[in-house]
């Protein structure tokens, strides 16, 4: 194809997206569209998979059977979300094995929030309430993104995600209505998760290198700063309802803008965690790589069994 032909195809392609048409896997697409989508969808999938680890930490120690069943279901959902997203990503012509390889080698990123430790039960509440809350804000606009398989996966993910946030908020509410110690535990969890949750919505617009292109492709429908403001506006009244304090002395309702003003985010911390120096980066990667490597013989055995059965079937038929 000549350069002119490609330019032509690109124009037709951009016009389709501008008309809100969906792009399906076998349609022609610019290479950059394909690569950007592989990067974002896989990063999203990896986040779901690594996201199981901090919560998995508390399944055996959940304080009641009700909490344990809910937490198990939530973690199982995250596995499911990871699988929907990996499948969507594979339609772009990359294999599951390559995707895992990118995660395990550190080439691909996952959400920085999962590199923080879960040290008390209240962290299960704070994660559901804040981390899933921020995730929902990030994900709802993606249900309308231009790439069909990603949009369809996101519709399913969003439907399932609201239970996650509610169960987290309920944990916080129970703690806040409990003893002094329990309420202090909830406050401590909010103190530790608030800022990482704000960072989770991504670098400020000025720093975000992918925003402009992603907006054009509807891979992003609101900027990071807009999403962050939305999250803060929605979450602060919920903290008030719980009777705990958001750990930001500069947080103040601004009558004029109709939004909360908030303090400076420590972006150095964010970039440190992204670059692998967060409190649990090594631990998370080790758990993930170990699970993959230690499971290899099981995957091989299942494949060998399937092949043996297939041969038997063929032998019987002939």
């Amino acid at each position: 194809m000549s350069e002119k032909d490609i330019k032509n195809l690109e124009e037709i392609f951009e016009a389709r997206i501008a008309r809100d048409e969906k792009i399906e896997p076998k349609d022609w697409m610019p290479e950059k569209y394909r690569q950007t989508h592989i990067r974002q969808i896989s990063q999203h999938a990896h986040s779901e998979i690594i996201g199981m680890l901090p919560e998995g930490n508390w399944i055996t120690r959940a304080p009641s059977l009700r909490r344990k069943a809910a937490l198990l279901a939530k973690v199982q959902d995250e596995a499911g979300h990871g699988l929907y997203l990996y499948s969507a990503c594979e339609t772009l012509g990359i294999s599951r094995d390559e995707l895992y390889e990118q995660l395990h080698s550190g080439k691909a990123k996952y959400s920085s929030i999962f590199n923080y430790p879960t040290i008390t039960w209240a962290d299960m509440g704070a994660i559901g309430w804040l981390v899933d809350g921020a995730a929902i804000i990030n994900q709802v606009p993606l249900c309308n993104t231009s790439f069909g398989p990603y949009a369809r996966a996101m519709v399913r993910v969003c439907k399932e995600e609201s239970f996650h946030q509610r169960q987290g908020f309920e944990i916080m509410l129970t703690l806040c209505r409990g003893t002094e110690e329990q309420k202090a535990m909830a406050q401590d969890a909010l103190n530790r998760w608030w800022w990482p949750a704000l960072m989770m919505l991504g670098p400020t617009d000025a720093e975000s290198i992918h925003t402009e292109q992603s907006m054009k492709w509807k891979l992003k429908r609101k900027s990071n700063d807009e999403l962050r403001q939305q999250f803060i506006d929605q979450t602060v009244p919920q903290a008030d309802l719980l009777g705990i304090t958001v750990p930001d002395p500069d947080l103040k309702w601004n009558e004029e803008t109709g939004h909360y003003d908030f303090g400076e985010i420590d972006w150095d911390e964010f970039w440190q965690v992204v670059k692998g120096h967060g409190p649990c980066n090594k631990e998370r990667m080790k758990a993930r790589v170990d699970a993959w490597e230690n499971g290899e013989w099981v995957r091989d055995a299942a494949m060998a069994y399937a092949e043996k059965n297939e041969k038997r079937k063929v032998a019987k038929a002939s």
Binding site: L83, Y84, S95, R96, D97, R152, M303, E310
Partner: protein, 97 residues
């Protein structure tokens, strides 16, 4: 050593959400064989009563049309307006036809 490693193949999953409706494509997953694909499909796609019946088909068995040939494939239907009821003029007196 030669790399003979075989990864679990990809399967397409179709779910009937309730009797009376058709099976609809829900997504795909990897599994060693059909039985495992079925079990995984149940766990991945029907955790909340989304289905009453599941089909699993190994993806390699699906032949798909190519969008770049959509012209030859689908355009011939566009000028056959006589296949639609609105093509035929009837007097107003004829009701319910």
């Amino acid at each position: 050593m030669e790399n003979t490693k075989k990864n679990w193949p990809l399967w397409e999953i179709f779910v009937r959400s309730k009797n009376g409706l058709e099976h609809r494509h829900f997504g795909s997953l990897h599994a060693a064989d059909a039985e495992m694909a079925m079990e995984n499909a149940r766990d991945v796609y029907t955790r909340r009563n989304e289905g009453v019946s599941i089909w699993v088909v190994e993806s390699k068995h699906i032949t798909a049309s190519n969008p770049s040939e959509n012209g030859e494939m689908f355009e011939p239907a566009q000028d056959k307006v006589y296949r639609h009821p609105t093509f035929y003029d009837l007097p107003d007196e004829v009701k319910h036809m």
